[in-house]
């Protein structure tokens, strides 16, 4: 996994050195080229996780930006119209993330999507307390968070 990532970086640096232009687009193109070469080389290997993880990471990033923009629009609409639409609440969320790094990424993601904010993590690292702005249906919110965010994140990390 980490070996393949370093190999990919090495290939993209070789590409940058050979073409001689230090731009991000060139680096990205070299990275994609290296990714393709590594994929062709490792097609018969058993460990294919790296080649699933890179596209998943990219799609997760796009999903994150999409969520951020959509929810920001909702909050902005609520701020400028005179009536309050929100139903705030503090909910308990039992998470599957175990290590500190996973909890950190999960809580960063939750805090950066508008409408939700981490208030605290319990001392045994099992429960997140989340302040939610639009808590119309608690069960729906929990299953959406579990299926859309946490499962995708843990698929990438583990």
């Amino acid at each position: 996994m980490i070996k393949q990532f370093l190999m990919n970086l090495l290939l993209s640096f070789i590409w940058v050195a050979l073409t001689g232009s230090m731009y991000y687009t060139n680096f990205l193109f070299g990275f994609l080229l290296g990714f393709f070469i590594l994929w062709v080389m490792n097609r018969n290997e058993v460990d294919q996780r790296y080649f699933y993880r890179v596209p998943k990471t990219i799609s997760f990033l796009f999903f994150f930006f999409y969520q951020m923009i959509i929810a920001n629009l909702q909050v902005a609409y609520d701020v400028i119209t005179p009536k309050y639409f929100f139903k705030p609440g503090i909910v308990k969320y039992r998470m599957d993330a175990k290590s500190d790094f996973e909890i950190n990424l999960l809580s960063t993601f939750i805090s950066l999507t508008p409408g939700t904010l981490i208030l605290d993590v319990s001392d045994d690292k099992k429960i997140l307390y989340i302040h939610v702005m639009y808590l119309h249906d608690k069960q729906k919110f929990m299953t959406e968070l579990k299926n859309n965010v946490e499962r995708k994140l843990l698929e990438i990390l583990r």
Partner: protein, 132 residues
């Protein structure tokens, strides 16, 4: 073409920061204010930085904007978490429209330790609405 992209992105960024500052004035309680401010400001500053990266097609500028955006995204949620935690511990009241508060009574008064699953039976308090 790039002019249009820059105009659109910087307008959205500035509007996000504007809405965040209006939100500070209009929101009814502390947690909602915090909730509105942190993210909208992050989005706004991130978009303005992206515009700066597009305007100056220079490696040094781009690396700096990426570094600033990265550290902003890394630190803003941590700061919001700490501010929110301290606010809850010092006893700032939630808004009267809050429909549930499952954090209530979970802190140890003396040590501020937060109880997890072990000591508290959470199946009974799961769907209990907040009584005010």
């Amino acid at each position: 073409m790039t002019d249009i992209i820059i105009a659109v992105l910087s307008t959205i960024g500035a509007l996000a920061i504007l809405f965040a500052s209006i939100g500070i004035l209009r929101m009814p309680d502390f947690y909602l204010r915090l909730s509105v401010t942190v993210k909208a400001a992050t989005l706004g500053v991130g978009l303005l930085l992206l515009c700066a990266a597009i305007v100056f097609p220079d490696v040094s500028v781009t690396t700096k904007t990426i570094a600033i955006a990265f550290f902003l995204m890394l630190t803003a949620p941590v700061a919001a978490h700490m501010i929110g935690r301290v606010a809850y511990i010092t006893g700032i009241k939630v808004w009267k429209g809050t429909i549930m508060d499952e954090l209530e009574g979970m802190y140890d008064e003396e040590t501020h330790e937060l109880k997890g699953t072990g000591t508290h039976d959470d199946s009974s308090s799961q769907d209990e609405p907040l009584k005010k």
